[in-house]
């Protein structure tokens, strides 16, 4: 049986910052409609990896493909159509403090879809209502909890109905209940809307609960990839140490 064609693919990607290599010949293929988790120690290059896919960072060497087209090395002017199809939920929510939740969600609708302000805000309110934030649409981010801000950021990303959503540590800083709500939302996106989710995470309950496959990033490359059950059963000492959260073992952790 042949594997399905990759919807998103990183081919032998190298990336360094100030001469320090972060990614080394990193290769990873993600198929359409799956929830792929990227895990690894802090500083392993997980967030760096996904930012390359939307042109927020540029690779040093290698290739990045999305939906059959090569996207690395594109000029800034070529990225907006791709960013309309690939959304990103940032680690810090990144809502704009000077705007209400509705205005935050309306911004990409105005800029990417060319909606007028009134129409964009109207649609933004509907999108916020879908994540149970309809009654908070006129509030400013600073007035709200981390969990609410995270859900609003997800609503902003989903407003454009993207094919791929990148989540950068979506449950970090959330209480367990809010974290599981975000997990459920990610899983529903994949199951009900057919969205491809690429999730950077440290959160083991999220990984075991909703990931279709997991890629373990170690020493700048994908060290292991498979279903959560496959990785747990692999018996690899480095992988086992990371998954068990043990401080001692064969795994080299930068800075420790």
């Amino acid at each position: 049986m042949t594997s399905p064609p990759a919807f998103v693919e990183f081919r032998a990607v190298d990336k360094s910052f100030g001469g320090k290599p972060v990614l080394r010949a990193m290769t990873l293929a993600v198929t359409r409609g799956e929830a792929m988790f990227i895990i690894g120690a802090s500083g392993a290059g997980k967030s760096v990896t996904i930012k390359h896919l939307i042109g927020l960072l540029t690779i040093d060497r290698g290739e990045i493909w999305f939906d059959g087209a090569r996207v690395d090395g594109l000029p800034e002017s070529a990225w907006p159509p791709i960013r309309r199809r690939i959304g990103m939920v940032f680690q810090n929510s990144t809502l704009f403090d000077s705007m209400t939740l509705a205005e935050n969600v309306a911004l990409p609708l105005r800029k990417h879809r060319g909606l007028r302000q009134a129409a964009a805000v109207r649609e933004a309110r509907e999108r916020l209502a879908q994540v149970y934030l309809g009654d908070l649409a006129d509030r400013f981010p600073a007035e709200l909890s981390d969990g609410v801000r995270k859900r609003a950021a997800i609503a902003r990303t989903l407003a454009l109905d993207p094919d791929v959503v990148l989540f950068d540590e979506p449950t970090t800083g959330l209480d367990p209940q809010s974290a599981r709500r975000v997990d459920r939302l990610i899983r529903d996106l994949v199951d009900q809307r057919g969205v491809t989710a690429i999730v950077v995470s440290h959160d083991l309950p999220s990984i075991t609960g909703i990931a279709d496959r997991v890629a373990f990033l170690y020493q700048g490359t994908v060290y292991a990839v498979g279903t959560p059950a496959e990785l747990a059963a692999a018996g690899d000492p480095v992988l086992d140490q990371f998954l068990a959260g043990r401080s001692s073992g064969p795994m080299e952790t930068p800075g420790f």
């Binding site: 927020l56 960013r83 704009f96 911004l107 800029k111």
Partner: protein, 268 residues
């Protein structure tokens, strides 16, 4: 020995290349902000941003500029009158010559130096915070050009308000100097407030300097903010770089514009 020299040369070369790249990026940011003026709100400049920045840069600096330039005028005239008294005792030219200098140089340059600290630090801190919390990336993902959203409104407002505050600051400086001359040195206000020495060249030079400083301050500060890395420490470094870079840009532009004017049209 050869290895040490080689390493030193490499380090110097790397620094020079880095500085050249930073200068190029600064220039590109300036061009991008100008292009943002042409793009208008299509590029993502928010409605009301220009007015908000006029208020933040201008109105909120008003008291700061008025007080500092007032005191500078007071001190300068006090010192000048003391020196003139020692040498010639003739204070009849103090007011007119001070005004000429204030119009062509002191008012715009000192105003801009003050703005480089207050406004430059604010711009760098705000943009730097947005950078390290990924809000700049979020703008790009939302289809907004960060330069149009953040830099262009500040550039427009800063040019307008540096000119306005230079005129106001110069006037306060002159009046403060006039009062000092009258109360401490008995200089008749009719003699002090003599506008005859101010030439059209001096006025144009002063306005040109104010506009140039007004353009430089938000560009340098925005550039520092956009290069912020890491966390709050990176924002702190960006803020420091904005104040130093903005002040340096003002001094450098003062020299370049004054020297060019001197060569092209002679003394103001």
């Amino acid at each position: 020995m050869a290895g040490v020299v080689h390493r030193k040369l490499r380090a110097i070369g790397a620094t020079a290349v880095g500085a050249a790249a930073a200068a190029r990026d600064l220039w590109l940011l300036y061009l991008g902000a100008i292009a943002g003026l042409v793009r208008g709100r299509r590029g993502g400049r928010p409605k009301g941003a220009f007015a908000a920045q006029l208020f933040a840069i201008g109105n909120q600096s008003l008291v700061f500029i008025a007080v500092t330039l007032g005191f500078i005028g007071l001190v300068m005239i006090y010192q000048a009158c003391q020196q003139f008294n020692r040498v010639t005792g003739d204070l009849s030219q103090v007011g007119s010559q001070f005004l000429k200098l204030a119009v062509s140089d002191f008012a715009p340059t000192l105003t801009a130096m003050m703005l480089a600290t207050r406004v430059g630090a604010g711009i760098a801190a705000e943009i730097g915070s947005m950078k390290v919390t990924e809000q700049i990336d979020a703008l790009r993902m939302s289809g907004v050009l960060p330069v149009d959203y953040l830099i262009t409104p500040r550039l427009m407002a800063s040019i307008v308000m540096t000119i306005a505050l230079s005129i106001l600051g110069g006037a306060i400086m002159y009046v403060a100097g006039g009062l000092t001359a009258y109360y401490w040195f008995d200089v008749n206000p009719r003699i002090f407030f003599d506008l005859s020495a101010v030439t059209p060249v001096a006025v144009v030079l002063g306005l040109l300097k104010a506009a140039s400083y007004g353009a430089a301050i938000p560009i340098v500060a925005g550039f520092a903010g956009l290069r912020a890395r890491g966390s709050s420490e990176g924002v702190g470094k960006a803020t420091t770089a904005a104040v130093i870079g903005g002040s340096f840009a003002v001094i450098l532009l003062d020299f370049v514009i004054s020297a060019t004017s001197l060569v092209l049209v002679g003394p103001p």
